[in-house]
């Protein structure tokens, strides 16, 4: 079949000039590798975010002060979430569907032991937070109790990094009963959390938990809560409970439902927002990587044009022995596409390797889907066709007589 023969000719054309072929596709290789790496890291980030949020439980509902998630720092004093709101919601007869509820405020503070110091995310919560959040497990000791909260005791439950960083030669169980300093206040360690998976975005093992009452009066010196977490007994009722909360709490806080000064999120809301954000981020980065593909394509065009000029006599000869315009066009176009496909394959392999490497080094997840590979392959082929077409056309249109005389 003539088409097969053209492909054979094209392959031969590329093989006779291996070095040039490889240099030509360098741009494509880098472009595809960059796109693949970014897409896999992006997809990995997305699934990591999804699984992190899912691990908190699908019954989780979070209330933040301010409209549209402004957060406590950008909200006026009247609109803050306080003990009033907490007590209003923490009422079994008013909200029978709420299973567990806790205030949740977090600040970064230094945790100190002797001369060692660790910057830690301090979470001020109620005593039921380890029931509320499904991924909190106490490995040694215990979580603080209701009585600790009521009495505003200086007790603390620490993540595993506190043990390794501040008590280097000791085990988790040895650490129980010892004290650490937060803002020059002594806190007794009563529990150590199990090691949790680190994602690229946060390290949960450097978190510590203190009673919210202690934090309010002595640590953060503020009666405002960053948020209120609660779980709903029946997953099916989550949306109904959210409606109920929004309705009643807005009345309680003297605002209308439309202008309410707080925001209620379900894990689904957070999930979809997070997914959207990572998706936009991934698309942006990949588009930037796509620019290098464009540059690579221009490189292909450039080299193919040079190649056509260099092979003018050859083209003239081919025509003289019987090649038609379509034969020459086909040969050069196939050469360009073969080049870009080869570049694509190398780029994909390189991209996968790079994604896995970066994933391991930076503790990020790299996910590779078949659709990404197919996308990269088709893009390579299209780049070859688009950027190879003009040079191929130029070759096909050469006058054999003029071409044969070319020096």
């Amino acid at each position: 079949m003539r088409a097969l023969f053209i492909i054979k000719l094209a392959l031969r054309g590329l093989i006779t000039n291996k070095v040039r072929s490889l240099l030509t596709i360098l741009g494509i290789v880098i472009g595809i590798a960059a796109v693949i790496t970014l897409l896999s890291l992006g997809e990995g980030a997305q699934s990591q975010v999804t699984s992190t949020i899912s691990s908190l439980g699908s019954n989780l509902v979070t209330i933040f002060p301010g409209k549209d998630f402004q957060g406590p720092n950008s909200v006026s004093a009247e609109s803050q979430l306080t003990n009033r709101d907490y007590n209003f919601l923490n009422n079994k007869s008013r909200f029978p569907q709420i299973a567990e509820i806790s205030p949740y405020t977090r600040r970064f503070l230094s945790v100190r032991k002797g001369s060692e110091e660790l910057s830690s995310s301090v979470q001020a919560t109620a005593s039921n937070i380890n029931v509320l959040l499904e991924n909190l497990e106490v490995a040694e000791g215990s979580f603080f109790s209701e009585s600790d909260v009521v009495s505003e005791r200086n007790v603390i439950v620490v993540g595993s990094d506190i043990v390794t960083e501040l008590f280097p030669e000791q085990t988790a169980s040895e650490v129980i009963g010892q004290s650490v300093l937060l803002k020059n206040l002594s806190f007794q360690i009563i529990g150590v959390l199990g090691t949790r998976q680190v994602s690229g975005f946060n390290n949960p093992n450097s978190e510590v938990f203190v009673p919210y009452t202690t934090a309010a009066s002595r640590l953060f010196l503020s009666a405002e809560y960053g948020s209120i977490y609660l779980t709903v007994a029946d997953t099916q009722l989550v949306d109904a409970v959210v409606v109920q909360i929004e309705d009643r709490l807005s009345t309680f806080r003297n605002t209308s439902l439309e202008d309410k000064d707080f925001t209620v999120f379900t894990s689904e809301d957070i999930l979809s927002t997070a997914s959207q954000v990572t998706a936009i981020f991934t698309t942006l980065l990949s588009s930037i990587a796509g620019i290098s593909l464009l540059v690579g394509g221009i490189g292909i065009s450039n080299i193919m044009l040079v190649s056509v000029t260099e092979r003018t006599r050859e083209i003239g000869l081919r025509k003289a022995v019987g090649a038609r315009q379509i034969d020459i066009l086909g040969q050069f176009l196939v050469e360009a596409v073969l080049l870009t496909l080869l570049g694509g394959v190398i780029g994909i392999s390189l991209g996968i390797g790079l994604a896995l490497l970066i994933g391991r080094v930076a503790n990020l997840q790299a996910t590779l889907s078949l659709s990404t590979i197919l996308l990269a392959t088709s893009v390579s082929a299209v780049v070859g066709i688009v950027f190879g077409f003009f040079p191929a056309l130029k070759a096909a249109r050469l006058d054999p007589i003029v071409a044969l005389r070319y020096e």
Binding site: R12, E314, A320, V321, G322, A323, R324, D327, L404
Partner: protein, 197 residues
């Protein structure tokens, strides 16, 4: 002008006489702007580009002054080239046959940069013979060869002519032209003499 099958014709003339133009028309590389060129019953001027290419493939075997072999391509593949475009069914046998004819059967897998100038021209002649064309069109075939090698190549042309090929030789050297059986002289675009040798 009329050339019969099996003739060995030399076309001579100074530069600017129009011998290139004539060669291009005879070789079906170009179409005449006036008049007709009929080869083996086909009016070449009436063919479109694709048909012209096919016609060249089947009926014209070119031999150039600069050999025009494909670089980094074996002797075998160079000779086979017209057969590939023409989709010749018994290609392998035919390639071996013509290589035998020009005395290069042992050099089949050599690269052009590993053979001498004379051998390269023989490869070109083998390539020209492959499709059993109506005419062998040789444009200053010995122009890039030393006199000793030139004699060898001209002997080969004589041999293939004896085997029945029609050879048209374009040259400006009278001692090369003298080896043909008929010499046509052209000057300023017109035939000035046409004599048997």
């Amino acid at each position: 002008m009329e050339i019969a099958a099996g003739e060995f014709v030399a076309i001579m003339g100074p530069s600017g006489s129009g011998k290139s133009t004539l060669m291009n028309i005879l070789g079906a590389l170009d179409k005449p702007t006036s008049g007709n060129y009929i080869l083996k019953g086909t009016n070449v001027g009436e063919l479109n580009d694709d048909e012209l290419a096919h016609f060249r493939n089947q009926e014209v075997g070119f031999v150039f002054q600069q050999f025009n072999l494909l670089a980094r391509t074996s002797v075998y593949d160079n000779v086979a080239l017209p057969g590939m475009y023409g989709q010749l069914p018994n290609l392998d046998a035919r390639v071996k046959e013509v290589l035998e004819q020009v005395g290069l059967a042992t050099k089949s897998s050599n690269m052009p940069n590993a053979i001498s100038g004379g051998q390269m021209q023989r490869v070109a002649i083998a390539r020209a013979l492959l499709m059993e064309p109506a005419i062998i069109m040789a444009d200053e075939p010995t122009g890039n060869l030393d006199s000793k090698t030139a004699v060898g190549v001209m002997d080969l042309f004589r041999d293939i002519h004896k085997n029945g090929s029609t050879v048209i030789l374009i040259t400006h050297e009278s001692d090369i032209a003298a080896l043909a059986k008929r010499i046509i002289m052209i000057k300023d675009g017109a035939v000035v003499s046409d004599e048997l040798n």
